[in-house]
Assembly symmetry: C2
Homo-oligomer: 149 residues x 2
């Protein structure tokens, strides 16, 4: 059933520009990026800057192309293997990343954001407004290995 | 620049099963769905049930195929038009939905979830664990029209 359904082909609506040139584990919290959106879609960004945070879906174009069934979480080999869907590993059946970032500024077709964990050149797939009541959970449980070093 | 980048084709990793058969504005909060994952990927779901909530990316297969530049938010024609990226309209350049849902149970290749706003038959693209520190924002601002009737 892992198959290509007709028409499930993505278009790049824009591209990420920042200082992170190579895939690696990096702390993206303080990274400022520009998301340069296709100028045909500039007006589709109207009203977005009324939100403080946005969700960015992007294509992890430097993923290995391999999607292991299990991975060491966060690349930490001292942690036991976990199912890839229980991790945020970039090497997954569909290498689509999802980040919630702070929208610092919109200038025409360019969004300046803080905290994006995509590297320079990543194709952008979608931009959505972050809606706290819909996108966040008050009391969510995670296993202890998530915060293990 | 809205273009097809080589290889940005999605595979369905599974399918949504629930009672919502037609696209419409519906309150998904109480809807229980099954996500049936390709049996080749069953073990990739291991450890997922250590999380209380998961993020589901899915293909909005009943989107119109049109992507207007501006839309009335939540289909409410009494609200002024907004840029499509400032809304969660299903009719967007790449019709990919993102939902954060409660994981009720995992049985083999089947995830039972609550709160998924995808309709029956939606192809599933990715499953990710919900990580509060990464996926949620403490003080996010939204414009008043988001909660307007």
């Amino acid at each position: 059933m892992v198959k290509e359904v007709n028409g499930m082909t993505l278009k790049a609506i824009g591209v990420v520009r920042n200082e992170i040139k190579q895939p690696s584990m990096f702390d993206s919290e303080e990274v400022v990026s520009e998301i340069v959106i296709d100028t045909n879609l500039t007006e589709s960004l109207d009203n977005l800057d009324e939100f403080s945070h946005i969700i960015v879906l992007y294509w992890i174009h430097k993923a290995t192309g391999q999607s292991p069934i299990k991975v060491h979480p966060m690349g930490k080999h001292n942690l036991p293997l976990k199912g890839v869907f229980a991790t945020r590993s970039p090497n997954r059946p569909n290498p689509v990343g999802k980040a919630t970032v702070r929208l610092l500024e919109r200038q025409g077709n360019i969004l300046k954001v803080k905290g994006l964990d995509a590297i320079d050149g990543s194709p952008v797939i979608d931009i959505k407004p972050y809606l706290p009541g819909y996108d966040s959970v008050a009391r969510a449980k995670v296993p202890p290995w998530v915060s293990q070093r």
